[in-house]
């Protein structure tokens, strides 16, 4: 027994020494890279010293980040994306570095990127690992539409595409304003009660503090789960009592993700709701609504068309 313990202890010690050696190796190898003085603050509040002002090898660790990069005309500089990336279509030819929350660190390092765009899910494990290898990591963590615009500006700064970012965000802001100008004048009783279905079993919706809640409000609706927060489960009896006038459910483009929409249109117990009686059950592409990128404005316009079809074509 004691012998076994001793062996384990020796093994652990050896492993620790070996890891230490590896870490110091990494440091000596990276010391040749010349650091540029440009320092930016990312959306996790971290001060990041950029390796270069015009990165040529960018890895995106989230589909929304990839969409921002492509929208800024940086598509050809993207060398790695995640398994979940599918927009724009040409992204499918890009090599993958693994899952969204679980990228393969070795793969990322091997691609020798000069910029990695991460998100808050990478804060605890992935970012420290990459930074210990002297890789520049900028994290985006937008919580509101304004944050999305700010994140695009941030990516513009980090990639030397400030002009393009200004142009893109101005166009997005203008589309947002055009929606809110129409819905801003509505009195509360002109705003329909909206129920958004994230998932059907258990029934999950979006409460305050989510993009969906913000989009519903900006598109002139009242979220029936507005007094809840985050992505709560909600009981069907509360939904029936709230009697939504519009139901919007997620439906992906690919196979297998439109269960919430199928549920919204077929669940017999929702039959008595105003939304079902007046045939006002709509689907939205979960890729667009779930990704805080340039297409979030498309989602806002879709919401307006669903919640206030009469306002859509108004000037």
């Amino acid at each position: 027994m004691k012998n076994t313990l001793k062996k384990i202890a020796i093994f652990c010690l050896a492993a620790a020494v070996f890891t230490g050696l590896l870490a110091s190796c990494g440091k000596t190898l990276e010391s040749t890279t010349a650091a540029s003085p440009t320092v930016i603050t990312d959306q996790l509040g971290r001060a990041v010293t950029l390796a270069t002002n015009a990165p040529q090898r960018i890895i995106s660790l989230a589909p929304s980040n990839t969409e921002i990069l492509f929208a800024l005309g940086l598509g050809d500089r993207v060398v790695g994306v995640t398994d979940f990336d599918n927009y724009p279509p040409e992204v499918k030819t890009k090599p993958s570095v693994g899952g969204y929350s679980t990228p393969n660190i070795e793969e990322v390092i091997a691609m020798n990127p000069d910029l990695v765009l991460a998100t808050e899910v990478h804060q605890a494990a992935v970012i420290p690992q990459l930074e210990s290898q002297r890789i520049t990591v900028v994290a985006l963590s937008p919580q509101t539409l304004d944050d999305v615009l700010a994140s695009i500006t941030l990516v513009g700064k980090a990639t030397g595409k400030v002009k393009e970012a200004v142009k893109l965000t101005a166009a997005m802001q203008q589309r947002i304003n055009s929606v809110t100008n129409k819905t801003g004048k509505l009195s509360p009783e002109m705003k329909p009660r909206v129920f958004y279905i994230i998932w059907n079993d258990p029934l999950m919706t979006a409460g305050a503090g989510t993009f969906i809640d913000e989009l519903i409000n900006k598109a002139g609706g009242i979220n029936i789960a507005g007094d809840l927060t985050s992505y709560p489960t909600i009981s069907l009896e509360n939904v029936l009592t709230a009697n939504p006038q519009v139901i919007i459910a997620g439906a992906g483009m690919g196979e297998g993700e439109d269960l919430p929409y199928q549920y919204a249109t077929t669940e017999s117990r929702l039959q008595g709701t105003d939304a079902r009686r007046n045939d006002r059950v709509y689907s939205v592409n979960t890729d667009i609504i779930g990704r805080p990128g340039p297409r979030i404005v498309d989602a806002l316009e879709d919401f307006l068309a669903d919640i206030h079809p009469e306002l859509r074509d108004q000037p």
Binding site: D83, F84, W199, N200, D201, P202, L203, L228, P232, T233, I234, S235, L236, E237, N238, L240, T241, N243, G252, G254, E255, G256, E257, D258, L259, Q262, Y263, T266, E267, S268, R269, G272
Partner: protein, 358 residues
């Protein structure tokens, strides 16, 4: 190892004695009715008790009450709460009697309804259902429970075939092959989950178990399995008492242990599989309720089994009530509540007895 004592000697408890236990049975049956009515009238939407009872009475034949309530309230009572309460009761009853049966069959106090692969088989079946194209599904109902059921049955059949030694079915090999196959299936399930991409959240929710989407059609499917399985097990309760003796002794008493072992195993497995297929894996109930009943009323299976059915149904309806009301309109996963409510009560009973119970 089985202890060489007669069932009568084990049965020294709070409420032993034939008459007391019969009264207990009647009392629990009445309590179940009350619990069903109360649980149906409480929910995240406040509905007056009188309205609930008028809606329920209105549905009885020969009773016609003038409708003064909005139809959404009737839908909430009759189409959302009542099927949910009934399904919770059925599943609680099923898991409790299945747990009692497994514990009796295996003469092992740690046996629970999921010991021989039912839950893991069902999980793998359900996950495959999620991974298939949605077009095969009708709004998510039908295919997933069916595949879960098939998975559960297949897993136990494989365990049974692996555990057979000649014409006998030794309990030890049955448990060991159950544990081994469960481990294998759960690693397959883990692999399928991490490679399931966007469908991952749906699978995880299914695995956590929930009554939140219960409907009458599910009650209609689960009920016959639970009713028949429970009846079969209760009919053979006396045999479970005999099996508490050494198997060899039982053989000497002229009982064909092997044949009844398989019959009881099949019945317990079927009712577990039927419940797991619709509500996912709900832990704790199948192990805690039989023990609690044994602590209070004794180990005689002729009483233990029906008492476990009623206690399990009441326990599950009440824990589900807690899970859907405490943080209403949000729900707490049922498994959390079964553990939080069940464990302290069980430990209390255990400390109070301070004797070996099995």
């Amino acid at each position: 190892m089985p202890r060489h004592i007669k069932p009568a000697e084990i049965a020294v408890t709070f409420l032993s004695g034939r008459r007391l236990r019969i009264y207990s049975l009647l009392g629990l049956a009445a309590a179940l009715v009350v619990v069903i009515a109360v649980a149906t009238s409480i929910g995240s939407v406040k509905i007056p008790l009188s309205t609930t009872f008028r809606i329920l009475l209105d549905r009885l034949p020969l009773v016609d009450i003038h409708q003064t309530w909005p139809s959404s309230i009737a839908t909430i009572i009759l189409e959302i709460r009542l099927p949910r309460v009934i399904l919770a009761g059925l599943v609680g009853a099923a898991l409790s009697i299945a747990g009692a049966t497994y514990q009796g069959l295996f003469r092992n106090p740690l046996a629970d309804p999921y010991l021989i692969g039912v839950a893991q088989g069902a999980s793998v079946g359900a996950i495959i259902g999620f991974l298939l194209p949605t077009a095969w599904n009708i709004a998510g109902f039908g295919l997933i429970p069916l595949l879960a059921f098939i998975g559960a049955i297949l897993a136990t059949v494989v365990v049974y075939l692996l555990a057979r030694v000649g014409k006998t079915l030794p309990v030890t090999t049955l448990i060991l092959s159950g544990v081994a196959l469960s481990a294998l299936l759960s690693s397959i399930a883990s692999y399928l989950i991490i490679s399931s991409g966007n469908k991952m959240h749906g699978i995880i929710f299914w695995l956590m178990g929930s009554f939140s989407m219960s409907r009458w059609s599910e009650v209609g499917i689960v009920l016959p399995y639970v009713a028949v399985g429970t009846a079969v097990i209760i009919v053979f309760a006396r045999l479970l008492n005999v099996m508490q003796l050494d198997e060899e002794q039982a053989q000497q008493l002229g009982v064909n242990v092997e044949r009844y072992k398989i019959l009881l195993l099949a019945a317990a497995t079927l009712i577990t599989a039927a419940s797991v297929s619709f509500v996912g894996t709900i832990g704790f109930v199948g192990i805690i309720i039989p023990h609690a009943v044994r602590l209070v009323w004794g180990a005689d299976h002729r009483f233990l089994l029906p008492l476990a059915v009623l206690t399990g149904a009441i326990f599950m309806i009440l824990t589900d009530l807690i899970s859907r009301t405490v943080l209403a309109p949000t729900e707490i996963p049922i498994g959390v509540i079964t553990a939080v409510c069940g464990a302290p009560f069980f430990l209390y009973l255990l400390r109070r007895r301070k004797k070996a119970i099995f």
